[in-house]
Symmetry: C2
Subunit: 151 residues, 2 copies
Amino acid sequence: MRYLEDFVAGQRIELAPITVQEPEIIEFATRFDPQAFHVDPGHPTTLSLGGVMASGWHTAALFMRMIVDAYLADTAVLTSPGVDELRWLHPVRPGDTLCGEVIVEQVRISESKPDRGLLSTRVVLHNQSDEAVFSVKTLAFVLRRPANELP
Amino acid sequence: MRYLEDFVAGQRIELAPITVQEPEIIEFATRFDPQAFHVDPGHPTTLSLGGVMASGWHTAALFMRMIVDAYLADTAVLTSPGVDELRWLHPVRPGDTLCGEVIVEQVRISESKPDRGLLSTRVVLHNQSDEAVFSVKTLAFVLRRPANELP
């Protein structure tokens, strides 16, 4: 298990690639973001925008899966207060493969609750053509290593 | 169809309530955010946090559906550059009913592309106990009304 002490500013964590296909894009958007350019490949608006693109919230959800698989599942995370400066920089299209890395920006011990701290990261996802498609700054409360547990 | 001219700073748009149940919470998180407190009701961590809670990205996706239903589906939206200050203020639990409103913060015509502008809003979602659970500032590019179309 990773604790707050296992993160240091400047640390980079690589994310395993993930590929997204048209049926998933349409299924997600039909449920959560049913705008023509996410769900209807033949719609004039979709055609004028170069074809179906993933809902930005689908991209955000894929990003979450990538960071859970990369490190969150093995980290003593409590909750997250939120994210900042979330940007959709380029459309995510059917067949795109996303990859990226997390850069640790700050690790700060809580003053009011000394058993935990706040982990701040900056993340950018790229597609297979090395175009940046998504960026965000994340925040998470992470437990410090208990005194009786060795690193 | 609504265009940029149909939004003014201070305007409020009410969002229709949406209820989320445990099977959807677990299904979404199994796919995108498989942390114990989102997918495993009996896990010690889940129990220590008061039971299963929705992935924050599930709440964000539900918020998107609420604003598509309330006004985006009938608005000449192009794309969104992103969102700012996204906050998960309180856990969203199985059976919770979310409601909220959008407040228009700014409507600004693009200098480089005069056929469109940037719509900035501020949104807060509450649960059935009137606890704020989610807030975010959104940005969207919206077309201005074409000269040949009457309001």
